[in-house]
C-alpha cells in the first residue's frame, strides 16, 4: 500500500485529465426538451399508468409491467 502510494506521483503515466469544455445551453435545450419529455412519458408508462391514473383503459399495461413496477420501487397497488 505505502509503496504504491509513494510510487504513484512519479510513476503515473497519465497526464492530468483535461476538464471538458462546457456545452452551450442553446445546443442542449432542444434535445433536453424533446427527449426529456419523451423519456418522462416512458417512465410514466412503466411507473404509474393504470395505477393511480389511467390514460389507456383496462389493466393490460399495469399487468404487463407489474413485476418491474414492484421491483423498481413504484407504488403498484
Amino acid at each position: 500500500m505505502a509503496q504504491s502510494a509513494v510510487a504513484q506521483p512519479t510513476a503515473s503515466p497519465t497526464t492530468p485529465t483535461a476538464v471538458p469544455a462546457k456545452l452551450p445551453i442553446s445546443a442542449i435545450a432542444p434535445w433536453a426538451v424533446f427527449f426529456g419529455i419523451l423519456m418522462l412519458v416512458l417512465l410514466y408508462f412503466v411507473g404509474a399508468e393504470q395505477g393511480a391514473t389511467s390514460l389507456v383503459s383496462g389493466e393490460g399495461v399495469h399487468e404487463w409491467v407489474h413485476d418491474a413496477r414492484h421491483l423498481l420501487g413504484f407504488p403498484c397497488h
Partner: protein, 254 residues
C-alpha cells in the same frame, strides 16, 4: 458541432442505460423475482377471494414484462442522465469525462432512488393498502421530483460557496444542507405502513434489499459505461483537431 456532441452523448447515454438495464434485469430476476413469488404466495394464502382470471400470466410478468419495464426504465434514465451530463460538463468542477459520469450516476442513484426509497420503500405484492394508492403514488413522485431539484440546488449551492469556503468545506456545507432538507421532508410528509398481519419480516427486508440492489446495479453500471463512451465522444474534441483546440483555448462565453 455542439449540437452533434449533445446528440452523440444522448444516444450513448440511452445505449449505456440499455446495457445497465440488462445487468439490473439479471439482478431483478435472480434476487427480486423469488421474493415477489413468495409475497404473491402469501397474498393468495390470505386472500378472502381471488376473483377474476389472470390477464397476464405470472411467467410472462416475471420474464417479458419485467424485461420491458426494467429496460425501458434504463433507457429513459440513461437518456435523462446523459442530458444532465451535458449540462454538468465543465460546470460542476474540475472533473474529467469519466469522473463526471460516475459522480452524476451516484447523484442520480441517491436523488432519484435512495432518498425517496428511505421514506417510501419498495413494497412487494400483498403489502400496501390499495385504497391509499393514489396518495402513495402522488407522494412518491413528489418525493422524486423534490429530491432531484434539491440535488441540483445542492450542487449550485456548493458552487456558490466554493470561492468563499474552499472546495472541501463548500461540499460538506452543501451536503449538510441536502441532508437537512431531506430530513425535514421526511418529518413533514405522511408515512404509510400497511404490512399485513403475519407477513414475514425477513421477506420484506430481503425484498427491499433486492430492490435496492437493482438500482445500485443500474446506476453504477450506467456511470462506468457511459463515462467510457462519453470520453470517446469528448476526447477527440479536446485532444486533436483545430476546432477542438480552439474550443478549449477560448473560454466559452455562451
Amino acid at each position: 458541432m455542439n449540437s452533434a456532441t449533445v446528440r452523440n452523448l444522448l444516444v450513448r447515454g440511452m445505449l449505456a442505460g440499455l446495457a445497465a438495464g440488462l445487468l439490473a434485469l439479471v439482478v431483478a430476476y435472480f434476487l427480486g423475482e423469488p421474493r415477489v413469488d413468495q409475497a404473491i404466495a402469501f397474498e393468495e394464502a390470505h386472500a378472502h377471494e381471488h376473483g377474476g382470471e389472470e390477464l397476464v400470466s405470472r411467467t410472462l410478468q416475471s420474464t417479458a414484462g419485467l424485461s420491458t419495464g426494467v429496460l425501458v426504465y434504463g433507457v429513459a434514465f440513461g437518456g435523462i442522465a446523459a442530458l444532465a451530463y451535458c449540462f454538468a460538463l465543465g460546470r460542476t468542477g474540475r472533473f474529467g469525462p469519466r469522473a463526471s459520469a460516475l459522480l452524476l450516476a451516484a447523484a442520480g442513484l441517491v436523488a432519484v432512488y435512495v432518498v425517496p426509497f428511505l421514506k417510501y420503500p419498495a413494497n412487494p405484492p400483498a403489502v400496501g393498502d390499495p385504497d391509499t394508492l393514489d396518495q402513495r403514488t402522488t407522494l412518491y413522485f413528489l418525493m422524486v421530483v423534490l429530491s432531484v431539484l434539491l440535488a441540483v440546488g445542492t450542487v449550485i449551492l456548493g458552487k456558490r460557496l466554493a470561492p468563499r469556503l474552499g472546495n472541501w468545506n463548500a461540499t460538506v456545507a452543501a451536503g449538510a444542507f441536502f441532508v437537512l432538507v431531506v430530513g425535514l421532508a421526511y418529518a413533514l410528509l405522511p408515512s404509510y405502513s400497511n404490512v399485513p398481519e403475519g407477513f414475514p419480516a425477513t421477506l420484506l427486508w430481503q425484498y427491499r434489499l433486492a430492490a435496492l440492489a437493482v438500482q445500485v446495479t443500474l446506476w453504477t453500471a450506467y456511470g462506468l459505461l457511459f463515462g467510457l463512451l462519453a470520453e470517446r465522444v469528448l476526447t477527440p474534441r479536446t485532444a486533436a483537431g483545430p476546432e477542438g483546440a480552439a474550443a478549449r483555448a477560448t473560454p466559452v462565453p455562451h
